[in-house]
Each structure stands twice: as structure tokens, then as C-alpha cells.
Assembly symmetry: C2
Homo-oligomer: 242 residues x 2
Amino acid sequence: MVSKNQIKLISSLHQKKQRFANQLFFAEGVKVIQELLQSNFELEHLYTTLNDFEAVQPSKRTLINEQELKKISALTTPNSCLAVFKIPAENKVIDSGLIVALDDIRDPGNLGTILRLCDWFGIKQIVCSKETVDIYNPKVVQATMGSIARVNVNYVDLKTFINQTNLPVFGTFMDGENIYQSNLPQNGIIVMGNEANGISAEIENIVTSRLTIPRFGDLQKTESLNVATATAIILSEFKRNS
Amino acid sequence: MVSKNQIKLISSLHQKKQRFANQLFFAEGVKVIQELLQSNFELEHLYTTLNDFEAVQPSKRTLINEQELKKISALTTPNSCLAVFKIPAENKVIDSGLIVALDDIRDPGNLGTILRLCDWFGIKQIVCSKETVDIYNPKVVQATMGSIARVNVNYVDLKTFINQTNLPVFGTFMDGENIYQSNLPQNGIIVMGNEANGISAEIENIVTSRLTIPRFGDLQKTESLNVATATAIILSEFKRNS
């Protein structure tokens, strides 16, 4: 059984402020929870409707029914389990290799998808502007499918961070160099901009290489790419010849 | 003002069965509606909270307030307008060039994003299995950002369709040829599989070229790519040298 206080705590973790105050977040579903358990995340408590997760010590595991799960879940169709984890201390930024810098990504699904892409392409570090959606937002955690355990994410003042590295800075713009014909190094910062406004003027000023993903459709009418699919194409280009 | 009957009709269009029975669908937001108006879609009626869309004849335009919009909108945060359009007759399949074939894509956001990608990369034709989510689902229409007006979409029996063309058939699998080292033609069918199960066995049997997108992360643990980001990478590879 899950107590009223536990329900209250988990519900409060839907809000960033409360996650920060309690230094806790939650994840749902066997796959994501397993990934987090197998990595360095410290389990606070697991709630499950099944007799699974035998490896978790009984004092940290509560069998609940589906109605109880529905009360604490952030999903419209709840999975079979929900786990509360401690938010780990931020690791030091890994300032070599390829770094993805996110300039105010607001949509949780986009951030989760970008994290999953970084994991796929072996990118070890994401730096986010302070306005970027919180990585421990339940929708982000869900969309990462467990990748959250394998990519280092830091929230920084993006301008200060970029200025203090000596890495080349890549951004995509309408007037950039054709990315398919560019020489792309294995060290550098790849900036991805906000869903509505793109890369901010402040960051655009410190971009050293302006790239573009060529369009093949009707040039007058075709909509821009979604930021997650643009990231997919850009990371694929950076890694394909590496 | 929007009448009770109009509210009832628009609400019913959230369901595929009712869209089919009425041969109507709806779109929301200035950008998407403008794109549909400028293309071949026939407007049934426009509901707007602003004095905009002057080009639309007054008999087809109703000024409504925000509460009324909330009643008919499918969005949590409604835009300023909603328009009901006639579902056009299905065009003939364009069976040359590159065709994207969707084998049971269930998520509306994924279908909308794939449509937008096809538009970007100049792919003129998508064929969907009958189990693929309906293109006139409000969430699909929204995610396409207007691209729905520029890519031809047909629902077919995928196996029969593929068998009657003489085009090469591409699919991505764990054991395929490295897509970065493959010779990719400008004619062919690119099959993308279901979110959970990938390409079905029936379709896998008629794939002529097995491809793979190489992983660069931890090979033991990294999750698969989301189908929309995989489509982005594959279309980029097919078009980059075209």
C-alpha cells in the first residue's frame, strides 16, 4: 500500500521546484527503472503492481494495486511500476570530444529524444542553458528510455561556458555551409536552438562555424525541421566519417 | 457563435470513424490552416477568435470567443483558430522516385514528424499500412505543420503494393549493411517499422536491401532510435549525394 504522504510527495515531484527541494525525481516502466538501477542512480523507493524487481531490498519496495499506481503516475496509461530516485550531484563537465549545447529547448519530448540520440552516437556531454526544460521532468525521463543514465547533463550559463572553452562552435542557420560538404571535426560544441526562435542572438555571435542542412522540397514553402530530427541529421553527419 | 450542432460535429471528428463518415477533418493554428487553404484542401468552415483570414468568404467564417474555441479544440492550450476541411479523394500513388512505406506506425506525433521530414527531403509519396494511424487524426495534422498539403499519402496493403512495383525495397535491421557505406539509389521503397516491433516478418521477407544505422555509444546498453529520428538519418543519407 502507498500512504497518503507518499502520494503527496510523488505528486509534488511533478514540479521542478519540489524535485529540487526534495532532491528526488521519479521514473516509470520496467525498462527505464532497470536502466537507472543498473547505473549510479540511488533508489529511494520502488512501487510496483507485480512481484518483480526481486533484487531490490524489501524495505525499498512496495507492492501496490493498479488504482494506487494511477494515483501516482504521470502517464495517461500507467505502466506497472514507478520508482523514486535521488537526484545525483552534478558531475563535472567533460569538455573534450563532441558536446551538444541546448539553447532553451522547452519541450520535454525533444530533450528526451536528443538525449537518446546523444547516447546512440556516443556523445558523452550535453550542456543546457538555464532556460532549457529540466532533465528530471517526468516526460523527459520517460522519453530518454534510460539514456539519462549514460549521458552527462549540466545546466550552465551557455555563453560563459562556450567562451571559456577553446572548442569550435557549430550552429545551423539558413545561410550556413552545406553540412554534407563540410569538414566536421570530432571536437567541438554543437549548438541546437529553441523550438520557436532557433539559436539566440547572444549565442549566434559566438558560433564559429555556420552550417546548414540542405532542403530538397519546395524551397518556398517547406517548414523547418523539428529540433530533434535536425539533431539526428547533424549528429549522423558528424559521426559518419569518424 | 458556434452552435451546439457544430460543437457536436467537430467533437465527433476526433474519432476516425466519424471523420470517415463525414469526410471531414480539422486543423488548428494560423500556420497550418494557411498552408491548407493555399493548397488544394477545400474549406468547410473556419472558426476564429480574431478578425483574421479576410480572404475566406464571410459565410464560411465564424468569429468565436476563447471559451467556445476551448470547447472544440483538441489542444490543451488552444491556438486562435480551428478550421474544418473536406477530406480530399485519395490521389493515385506516385510509384517512382523514393517512396517511404510505413509498416504500422501508431504514434500520431511520429507520423506527423515523418511527413514533415518527407516534405523537407522532397519525398513525394508515403504509403501506409492499413494499421498505421490515420493521417487526418488531429495530432498528426498538428505535427505535420502544414506538410500534409505537400506529400501524397495513401493507405494500402503494404505487401501487395510492394510486390507489384519493381522497386528495390530498403529496411533497417541490426544485421544490415552500414548505411554510411552503402550505395543508395534515388528510386526505391524505404520501409520504416512499428515503434515497438519494427518491420513485420511479412514485409521483412520482401526487403531486398538490409541496411543498418551504426551505433557509436555503449553497444551493450544503448536503446534503439525512435522511428522519426531514424527516418531523419535514413532520408538524409539517401539524399546527401543525390
